[in-house]
């Protein structure tokens, strides 16, 4: 088996999906978390001056989604057919867009602007997204086919961040709640959720 080494800061951030996928697949990896003070010396050694990076037998890969897709495939979580895989890709990308909007809310330093952005997000973007995705979910609580894929896990991860700001966001979305349950009850993920370092984001 190849050796995997993931490097990121000691937060969930852009690495957590990758960590969740390794956990689901039961794939051992080195979960390296560096302090911010160590970042300047690492930065020039990374392919695009960013982390997370994944080293696979010494070869370095960057871009969190590219890495996540790689791990998802190794863990058999990509989706079966080519069109299943495309469906998973598109759902992930759509989720990432909303994730970026959420970030804009959370990172707004001006208190009144932040309140305004938060209101707009919770009244427009968020319900629009959740309604859309409730429509994409099937009755068994999966986004793609009838089994767990990285589309489900990615959604769970995003909701993990989202419910920190909007705790009751998922109320009433039966199929989406089923997806969350399916993900949480996966043994590898359940174990990781118990063991992972607790960080504020």
């Amino acid at each position: 088996m190849p050796s995997y080494k993931l490097t990121y800061f000691n937060v969930r951030g852009r690495a957590e999906l990758i960590r969740l996928l390794f956990a689901t697949g039961g794939i051992p990896y080195e979960d390296v978390r560096i302090g911010r003070d160590k970042w300047p010396e690492l930065k020039p050694k990374t392919p695009m001056g960013q982390i997370p990076i994944l080293e696979v037998d010494g070869q370095v890969y960057c871009q969190s989604m590219a890495i996540a897709r790689f791990v998802a495939r190794e863990a058999g979580l990509l989706g079966e057919s080519s069109s299943d895989q495309a469906r998973a890709d598109m759902l992930l990308d759509g989720g990432a867009e909303v994730g970026e909007l959420l970030k804009e809310v959370v990172l707004e330093k001006d208190a009144s602007k932040r309140a305004e952005k938060k209101k707009e997000f919770s009244e427009k973007s968020l319900p629009h997204f959740l309604t859309l995705y409730e429509g994409f979910a099937n009755d068994s609580g999966h986004f793609v086919g009838e089994s767990l894929t990285w589309a489900d896990i990615s959604f769970f991860n995003m909701m993990d961040f989202l419910t920190a700001e909007f705790p009751s966001a998922l109320e009433g979305y039966d199929k989406l709640n089923k997806i969350i349950e399916n993900v949480k009850s996966n043994p590898g993920i359940a174990k990781w959720l118990k063991e992972r370092p607790v960080t504020d984001h």
Binding site: M48, V56, Q63, D89
Partner: protein, 208 residues
């Protein structure tokens, strides 16, 4: 075996649809190139999976999100790398390119203040872009010396995304790749690639 019927839906522009169109052209796969005027968009929007364009329709199934579309076509036409690691290499370039294209869209479309817009554009072209082009040059060289492609030994969606980025940035600055010889040669390699060469000559000429 019957070839699937492909349709690409987008505005009359290269924009976020072009990486997929280029891959279809490279594979010699016929497709219906649906382009709608902005006024017609409200008619199409409700039919799109996430109310956005571009969308790729394959035998009735609709796939949105430009990278998902391109990766699907790349996979179907044998241009997504031969191994999972090669795909990761291609994907990481695509994601880096997409970050840059989003940064451009940010100042171009979403910055209402003219002074801030000019400032962001300046930062993009003087700092951000050269930094990333440097990374891409290095990554290209790391793949068998840089005289081929970004991943493995063939064209992938990484190249079609990169060409689209190049077409946008070179409009602003025709010398943008002067410091990057391998990227410069790659652009020519992509432009003269069979199928792509013909498409570039016959496609609608649009500003974006």
């Amino acid at each position: 075996e019957k070839m699937p019927a492909y349709k690409v839906y987008y505005f009359n522009a290269r924009g976020r649809a072009e990486p997929t169109r280029l891959l279809l052209a490279a594979a010699g796969v016929p497709f219906e190139d649906v382009r709608f005027e902005v006024e017609k968009w409200p008619e199409y929007k409700p039919k799109m999976p996430m109310g956005q364009a571009p969308v790729l329709e394959v035998d009735g199934t609709m796939i949105c999100q430009s990278a998902a579309m391109a990766r699907f076509v790349a996979r179907e036409t044998g241009r997504a790398g031969k191994t999972n690691l090669e795909l990761a290499k291609a994907d990481m370039i695509v994601d880096g390119v997409a970050d840059l294209m989003n940064a451009m869209a940010n100042y171009h479309y979403y910055e209402p203040d003219e002074a801030r817009k000019a400032e962001k554009k300046k930062t993009f072209f003087e700092t951000t872009l050269p930094q990333f082009l440097g990374h891409f040059e290095k990554l290209l060289v790391a793949n068998n010396g840089g005289d081929g492609f970004f991943a493995g030994d063939g064209l992938t969606h990484a190249e079609t995304f990169f060409l689209c980025l190049y077409e946008s940035i070179s409009k602003e600055n025709p010398n943008v790749l002067n410091a990057f010889p391998k990227l410069t040669a790659l652009v020519e390699r992509i432009r003269t690639y069979p199928g792509i060469k013909e498409w570039l000559a016959k496609r609608p000429q649009t500003e974006f």
